[in-house]
């Protein structure tokens, strides 16, 4: 199955794109998705410990099980204000 992944802030520079599609196996977790993305976008790995993850408009942890149609967003620490 395929999920769309969006990048925000300087994650776009690290990946070179604002979003991408990634094919994962049924029942894959965000952790597995991240593993695949780190293979495609090695510069993202430097941010491994400070990457925030959302599915839709809610934060999710790495054990979240992906569903078809999920829109995943990855971004660095937020800086509003």
């Amino acid at each position: 199955m395929t999920v769309r992944v969006h990048f925000y802030s300087y994650f776009k520079e690290l990946t070179g794109c604002p979003s991408t599609e990634e094919t994962v196996v049924e029942g894959a977790t965000i952790d597995q998705l991240l593993g695949q993305l780190y293979g495609r976008f090695p510069k993202l790995t430097a941010m491994r410990n400070s990457t925030l993850i959302a599915v839709g408009v809610d934060y999710q942890g790495r054990s979240y099980v992906l569903k078809t149609g999920d829109e995943v967003s990855l971004f660095p620490p937020v800086q509003g204000g």
Binding site: Y59, S73, F75, G81
Partner: protein, 130 residues
Amino acid sequence: MTTELILTTDPIDEAALIARRRASAGMGAAISFSGIVRGKEGADAISAIDYEAFRPMVEHQFKLLFAEAGQRWPVVESIRLVHRVGVVKVGEPSLWVEVVTPHRSEAFAACQWLIDEMKRIVPIWKKPLL
């Protein structure tokens, strides 16, 4: 509790916002906080900050924060928050928050909590412009 959230590329008109303030007869405190773009980012002089927002998530996360503020301080009557997106020049406010409560202690506490939480979870990012 009433809440209002505005994400805008326009300058924040604080005077107009103040003029629109509504407070019932039980309210004794209104705090408004303006976060202004400073002329330096670390050691570098800058001219502006470009704010990027993941809008639908910003709106959702603020909704969650407003609801939690209402649970933590049930006396809060009104929260209004305006955040600029796009380029904000040095000296201009990028953020304006107002909290209206019966007494000042809750207004200060709720306003500070809201800004702290915003900076923790609301997906907005800054890019300094030289």
